[in-house]
Structure formats: C-alpha cells, structure tokens
Amino acid sequence: MSEATIPSPTAEPNGFWASKRRTENITRWTVFVILILGSITMLMPVTWMLITSFKTRADVFAVPPPNSTFFQTLKFWIPIPPHPENYPQAWTVSGMYSGDSWSIFGIPIQGITFTTYTLNTLFIAVFGCLGTTISSSVVAFAFARLRFPARGPLFLLCLATMMVPTQVTMIPTFILFKNMPWWLGGPWYNNFFPLVVPAFLGGGAYNIFLMRQFFMSIPYEMDEAAKIDGCTNFGVYWRILLPLCKPALTTVAVFSFLWNWNDFLNPLIYLDSNSKKTLALGLTNFVSLYGQDYQLLMAASLIISLPIIVIFLAGQRYFIQGIATTGLK
C-alpha cells in the first residue's frame, strides 16, 4: 500500500495514535456485532410469522426432538415444501363466518371476505389520513403565523389535551354520535362517520404540535414578502408554507394512515355489522374462529401488516426527518 508510507498529520506511525486507532476499531466492531445481534432479535418475531404462514397445520405444532442435529432442527424450522395456499385460504375462509350480505354499486355480494374488510379499512385510513393532514396543517398555521387574542393559552390547552386518555371522552362522544340528527347523517353508529369526521377537526394535538414546530422553522420574511405581493393569509398557507413543509406533511400523513389502519378501539365501539368491520376487527373474529390454525392466522396477520411495512419503507426518509425537526424542546 503506497498510501501507508505517506506520513499524514493524523496517522503518524507513532505508538500513541496507532493504539488509539486500534481501540477505536475494536469498539466499532463490538458496536457492530451488538447491533447485528439486536437486529436478529428485533426481526425474530416477524420472521417467525413469515415462516409459520408457509407451514401446514401439522408442522406448526411440531417441535424438533431433543438432541437433534443442526440440520434436523433446521428442517423443523423451514417449511419445505412451502405452502403458499395458506394465503388465499386465509383471505377467503373468513367469508364463511358471516351470513349477512352487502352490495357494491347495487350488486349484492354474498359473504364477507377480507376484501370487504380491506376496502373498509382503506376507506377509513385514506379519509382519516386526508382529514388529519389537511386540518392539522390549517390549525397549526394559525398557531404558528397569525396573531389573535389568547393564542398562548389556547395552544397550551391544545397541548394539555395530549394528557387526556381517550377513554374519558369515549362514552359522551359515543352518545353524542349515536344521537346525531339525520341532517348530519346521524345516527353515527355502524357507519364510518364517527371514525372519519373527527380527523377533519384538527387531527389531534400531537399532529398540530408537529406541524406548528415545522412552520416555525421557516423564516417569517417569506410570509411578509408574499403579503407585500398581495397574498392573503390563505395564500401564504397554501402557496408558501405548504410546499416547504412536505417532510412534515408526509410525517403526519404516514403516521395518521398507520394509526387509522391499526386503530382497534374505535372500530370496536362503533362498527357493529360484519360488512362494516375493519381488518383489525376481522382478524379478531378470525382468531376466535380459527384460534388453533396458526398458519392461517399468521398468513392473515402478514397480509394486514404488509401495507404498513411498504408505507413505512417508502416514507421513512421523510418522517425520520420530520420527527427530528419537532425538536422536542
């Protein structure tokens, strides 16, 4: 190596520096090995889910006998041949559960499958996400950029709502929604109103806080320049700030989509008939019916988790930045 012969100020062939570099290398490798071991632990449950979903029912409960060799153990772990038919079975089998039918564009469809649950969940997640992203950014704009009486106390009040457990407001809200007048589409029970409409009303304190922090980091001169050019407040929000806040918007959008996709308590309370249920509820039905068919349960769980994984991988660059910008100070 010719580079090694060139003396450089940082890499002197001097004992002190050499040993320091060696200990640094050792530390770096130790850290690396620990992180790898941790990664294996973190991925173990999902891997187990994947493996189980390709097994037959008989193989699921098989445990390698004691003192078996490495390869014998491996054969117990890895399903050979794999059974991908668990997936379509998991998708359709849940339909046998229900007698009630539903219709799409007037065409009646018998039985409820995961397709129904998926469409329901998608509807709720997409509109919940849309509502949260729009309304939290609108509200955050007022808190970050406009002057009005009681701005400070009102923002503190907003932050304080993070402390309130959802269960406190659950019952009165349930009763309010159930007694919604007909001209507001009431009663809000066994339909998607109670799950989607609240998202359009501010999107929750955490999201407002996150958007506000992001807006605050953008220099105020931008607004002033736009206002001199004749921009209204809405124009400043729509044309200046929103385009600059794409990372924060993506963060809020991804998180609220995931939250709505995973939400369990609200659908559990508000959705009654099987044709209205979400994937999370459908899966619990499935558990009570096929509790011992772990290969089907795992296939169904994986199907439900897949969109989350995809969205996470696609959006992570933005929302890791988004979380970092919140500052948390």
């Binding site: 530390t27 770096r28 850290v31 690396f32 992180l35 941790g38 990664s39 973190m42 449950p45 999902v46 889910m49 189980t52 699921v60 409960f61 445990v63 004691p66 509200v139 007022a142 808190f143 406009l146 002057r147 009005f148 009102l154 009040l157 907003c158 402390m163 309130v164 457990p165 269960q167 406190v168 407001t169 659950m170 019952i171 009165p172 009763i175 309010l176 609240p198 359009f200 009303l201 501010g202 407040n233 809405f234 929000y237 995931l258 369990f264 308590l265 999370a280 899966l283 619990t284 795992m298 169904a300 439900i304 988790s305 989350i308 994984i309 890791i320 979380i323 970092a324 948390l328 100070k329």
Partner: protein, 302 residues
C-alpha cells in the same frame, strides 16, 4: 385593536375553527359530561339516575377488580417504561457511533414499533408465547436447556402473563430510539471537544456531556411513555380475548373501562376513566415536580 389586527384575528379563528369545534364538542364537552356521568347510574335505555359518590365509593371500597386493574397497569408501567427507555437510549448511543449501515439498522429497529400496537402483532405474540410450541419457550429451551414442559406458561399462567406483556413491549424500543437519535445529533460537538481537552474519557463524556444534553428528550419521552403505557389496551384485548385473564392477571385499566362500557354501566365506566385520568395527571405532575435533573442548555446563557 386596529382594523388590520381585527382582520388577522378573524382569519385566525377561521383557520382555527376545526380545532375549536373539536375542542368544544369532542374534548371539553365530553370531559364535563363524563365527569357528570361518573356521579350517575345509567344503562342508556333507562333514565339517568344521579347517585352522588356511589360509583367512587363502590370502586374504592367494594371492587377488588378495580384495585387489581390499577395494580396490573402500574406493574406494567413500572417495569416496561424504565427498561424500555434504558434499552432505547443504549441502542441510540450505539447507533450514533458512526457504524456502517446505520440506515439499515435504524429501519430494522424501528419497524417493529411501527407494527407495534396493531392487532396483527398481538396475534403474533399470542403465538410466540404459546407454552408448548411457541417461539419463546423454544428459544429458552435452546439457550438454557430447561425442558419446554418446565418453561413458563406465559399467557396461560397467572404469574407470567404480566412479564409476558412487558417482554413484548421491548420490541417497541425503536420509537424512542428515533427520538433519542435526533436528540443526540442536537448536542453541539464543541462540548465534546471541550471535554476532550479537559482530559475526559469516553465514559466520562457520556455522563457529563451526552446524558445531560439528552435529558430534555429523556424527560419528554418519560412523560409520553408513561401516559402511553397507562393506556395499554389493544394487545391485552387480543391476547386474552377481551377477558384480561387468567384470573384477571392482565386486566388493565382501559380493558376494565371497556368491559364496564360494554355491559352498559356508563356511570361506573366514566368514574373508572376519570380515576385513570387523575392517575395520569398525578404521574405527570410528579415528574414535573422532580425534574431538577433535566438540564436545559438555554439556562446557562442567562
């Protein structure tokens, strides 16, 4: 107020209107209504009956399940929050060492917490904790040699069901880790340089620079995780079929509130929810009271 100011205030309240509607109808109003309901007996079908402190009396003096639920929730919080936080700080510190492939590591550690509270994960963990053919007992058997039949029965055992919930919560360390990583990057490098000149080694730098610099983030995380773990529900509901068994050993507060709600004991359920609210407020207040250990960089500049 000048007319320009008035105009700005009016447009501000238009922007705020969704939040104000939410604040009045879905937050403030319901809190007051729940407070009133907690002094009533009501099953939705019959008229509301005001009973004074009856629900609270019943709860505190006559309902062992309430105490059990409170104990279980506290048990879970006191074990899962400190250990989980320590783990996520350690992982964040390790990842901050400029190792190769940090983006991949970050994704791997963060992914389980994204899936975290979903029902699918609860179903998976129920299977992992299966006493006879679950993954956990298999791994235990391989590493410790304890026969599977003598391993803990986890969700089927009164003694091990709560530790099982705690173990499961460790897969959520990624959420905290991301926030600590952001916090670590916010500590000015000049502080480390100064410490090095003063002859501080790595270990001393950790205690005198890194952890104090990270303390506001740790404080924020502590509050948020305690509030969150007091509200654990999804996992317990799915893993115990909504019962909180065996023998109420996993009956947590929110599950108990839900059970009472489901059997139309609206008044009692509201009273339980209010007690949970007060417990969370109390826990938060205590943390603020004992927050002397939190170091804010800005204070030095005064």
């Amino acid at each position: 107020m000048t007319s320009a100011e008035r105009k700005e205030a009016i447009s501000a309240f238009i922007f705020l209107s969704p939040f104000l509607i939410w604040m009045v109808f879905l937050m403030g109003g319901p809190i007051l209504a729940a407070f009133f309901l907690s002094f009533c007996k009501w099953d939705i079908f019959n008229p509301i009956q005001f009973v004074g402190f009856e629900n609270y009396k019943e709860m505190f003096f006559n309902d062992p399940r309430f105490w059990k639920a409170l104990y279980n929730t506290a048990y879970f919080t006191f074990l899962s929050v400190p250990i989980g936080m320590a783990l996520s700080i350690v992982v964040a510190l390790l990842m901050n060492q400029k190792v190769k492939g940090i983006a991949i590591f970050r994704t791997i550690y963060y992914l389980p917490s994204i899936l975290g509270s979903g029902v699918a994960m609860a179903v998976l963990w129920k299977w992992i904790f299966n006493a006879d053919s679950g993954l956990l007992n298999y791994v235990l058997n391989v590493f410790t040699g304890i026969p599977i039949s003598e391993c803990p029965k986890w969700l089927a055992s009164e003694a091990w069901s709560k530790p099982a919930l705690v173990i499961m919560s460790f897969w959520n360390v990624g959420g905290g880790m991301i926030i600590y990583l952001a916090g670590l990057q916010g500590i000015p490098s000049t502080l480390y340089e100064a410490a090095e000149i003063d002859g501080a080694n790595r270990w001393q730098q950790l205690w005198t620079v890194t952890l104090p610099g990270l303390s506001p983030v740790i404080f924020f995380q502590l509050i948020v995780s305690i509030v969150g773990s007091f509200q654990i529900f999804n996992q317990v509901y799915v893993m115990t079929d909504g019962l909180g068994g065996p023998a109420d050993s996993t009956l947590v507060m929110v599950l108990y509130i839900y059970q009472k709600f489901k059997y139309f004991q609206m008044g009692y359920s509201s009273a339980l929810a209010f007690v949970l609210f007060v417990v969370i407020m109390l826990a938060t207040w205590l943390q603020f009271k004992f927050s002397k250990w939190v170091y804010y960089e800005g204070e030095l500049r005064k």
